[in-house]
């Protein structure tokens, strides 16, 4: 575990790829999903279903398995690789029951002292009648609050698309890593363009001013690590990408699991507590 990790800070891996080009890379239909990574990263994985309240949301997968020799709980948003998978996973747009399944499994992990690993890959929480009726806002809010005080380490990794509150609901963690080409944003570039310029087709321009890349997230103090992808994107070598993710997880879990839980929880709170940019002097208006 002590050799040089293939994991770097922001400054090392930026050549001239524009944010929009990264968006195109993560939209590649062959981009690996959690279903590809699961068998490459974890052993003895058992999927666990249902939120025990309403149903089982295919947009969020959960289960237990081993990372090396560490038992872990895995919670992940599920992009489909074809139309059938996408139908089953609602294009990775969770309903409230998905977030509640995630919380149920997180609490189970807390009970058995297992760390939680979350994989973020969603355009956003689903927007629909049923989602509103079942309290999409409350479901996300509850996860944000409960993950903040969950007494076990939580590590999150953005695999592709980190879309707004639907992504953040799995993103309250001790350490956030992003795959090199992944994005994380408050609103989709398309949504941003349609609000700002009343023109959703100006997605490319939106990408370039929104600060949505992994490097941006590190610079803004929101992500801690960037996990490198093979030349051209993760789809060119899913095994190598999985290995990079594994290395990051093993290293990070080992350091987080050594910490006293109260220290860890304070650090988690402060990681989010310090985010915000404002002045407090009364100046000339």
């Amino acid at each position: 575990m002590s050799e040089e990790m293939n994991v770097t800070g922001a400054e090392d891996i930026t050549d001239a790829i524009t944010p929009y080009e990264r968006l195109e890379i993560i939209r590649n239909k062959n981009r690996p999903t959690i279903r590809d990574y699961l068998p490459l990263i974890f052993n003895d994985f058992f999927e666990l279903h249902g939120d025990r309240l309403y149903g089982d949301d295919g947009a969020i997968l959960g289960g237990i398995g081993r990372l090396g020799n560490i038992p872990v709980t895995v919670i992940a948003e599920v992009k489909g690789r074809d139309i059938f998978e996408n139908k089953a996973s609602n294009f990775a747009m969770p309903h409230p029951e998905g977030y509640r399944k995630a919380l149920r499994l997180a609490r189970q992990a807390e009970k058995f002292n297992r760390p939680v690993i979350c994989f973020i890959d969603t355009p956003g929480a689903f927007c629909g009648i049923a989602a509103e009726k079942r309290g999409q806002g409350e479901a996300i809010a509850r996860n944000l609050a409960e993950f903040m005080v969950l007494k076990t380490p939580v590590i999150s990794v953005v695999l592709g698309e980190g879309g707004s509150g639907g992504a953040l609901a799995l993103g309250v963690c001790d350490e956030l890593a992003m795959l090199e080409n992944s994005i994380y944003s408050v609103i989709s570039p398309r949504g941003f363009a349609s609000i700002l310029w009343k023109d959703a087709s100006k997605e490319k321009e939106a990408c370039n001013i929104m600060r949505i890349t992994a490097e941006d997230a590190v610079n803004l103090g929101i992500a801690e690590q960037i996990i490198p992808e093979p030349e051209g994107g993760a789809h060119n070598d899913p095994e190598m990408t999985a290995e990079n993710i594994s290395k990051f997880l093993v290293k990070t879990l080992n350091s987080k699991m050594k910490k006293d839980i109260d220290v860890l929880l304070n650090e988690r709170y402060n990681k989010f507590r310090k985010i915000g940019v404002f002045s407090e002097t009364s100046e000339n208006i």
Binding site: G135, M148, I209, R211
Partner: protein
């Protein structure tokens, strides 16, 4: 999307389908967008900005809300001078903020502080939809978080009047993270045993609904206000059909189990003070006397 929020609620209150604004300042009279009845501005204000004919609860500023909520001269403001910077160098953001500051007299979309309500001491926060549709950026996130922390530290109840179009996209990811920051602070207050009362006002949507607004120990809503996560247009676009009028109303929220009660504006002061009193530490002596 934000401007849609105005239209939706006006439409919900609108019987004849016409688009009229609540304040028709040129005529001095208040003309209700729901029932079209008029009344004098004095009568409207005296009725706490609620239509005397049909009970339409119009949107009010944070200062107006404080004036009808807190005991006279009891309010001490926190973090008055806190003001937004430009975390992602968003084009024209500073100009937009400074324009709004002079137009609204606010530094951002929330006022926080401590006060008494019918003698009950509490921390209070009021969001103001006239400031960028009360979107949550760094200032709203920080002031709300400090309000939670102050409530825990001073062992005082917290009352937040929410209103918001959601996260402030001009602050990019920094605004999204305010959802986690405020929700985490709410969780800590809850662990410390503090009382947190939410009052949902028009409109409470997006990232604020998906964070601290949904985490109250007791959640109150004003009648017929808009409460929801996703924008109505977005949902209609997804499902390709028109949504019913009462979709995402306070009543819809109550019916689906996400609010405790709907309380008219004129009864809020009494309701909040009673609820706070019910959470006072139990003392046998109170019962005997």
């Amino acid at each position: 999307m934000l401007e849609d929020l105005f239209k939706v609620v006006t439409a919900r209150f609108n019987n004849d389908g016409s688009e009229k604004s609540a304040e028709t300042s040129s005529e001095k009279l208040f003309k209700c967008p729901r029932c079209s009845e008029s009344c004098s501005p004095e009568e409207f204000t005296g009725n706490k900005w609620v239509c005397p004919s049909c009970g339409y609860h119009s949107r009010i500023s944070a200062r107006e809300r404080l004036s009808i909520t807190v005991d006279k001269d009891s309010f001490r403001e926190y973090d008055k001078d806190m003001s937004s910077l430009n975390p992602i160098d968003f084009p024209d953001y500073e100009a937009k903020i400074s324009g709004l500051k002079s137009r609204t007299g606010l530094n951002d979309a929330i006022i926080t502080g401590e006060c008494t309500i019918k003698g009950e001491k509490c921390i209070i926060g009021v969001m103001d939809s006239h400031f960028m549709m009360a979107s949550m950026g760094s200032v709203v996130g920080e002031k709300v978080t400090r309000a939670f922390e102050a409530a825990a530290e001073k062992k005082l109840p917290l009352v937040l009047f929410t209103a918001s179009g959601g996260a402030r996209m001009q602050e990019g990811l920094v605004s999204l993270m305010q959802m986690a920051k405020t929700s985490g602070a709410a969780a800590k207050l809850s662990q410390a045993g503090g009382l947190y009362i939410t009052v949902l006002t028009d409109p409470t949507t997006g990232g604020v609904t998906a964070s601290f607004a949904s985490l109250g120990d007791i959640i109150i809503a004003e009648p017929k206000v808009l409460v929801g996560f996703a924008g109505r247009r977005v949902i209609e676009g997804t499902i390709k059909q028109r949504l019913p009028e009462d979709f995402q109303s306070a009543e819809f929220t109550l019916e689906n189990g996400f609010a405790d009660m709907i309380v008219e504006r004129k009864n809020l002061r009494r309701t909040i003070s009673h609820l706070i009193r019910l959470h006072r530490p139990y003392k046998e002596v109170d019962i005997i006397v």
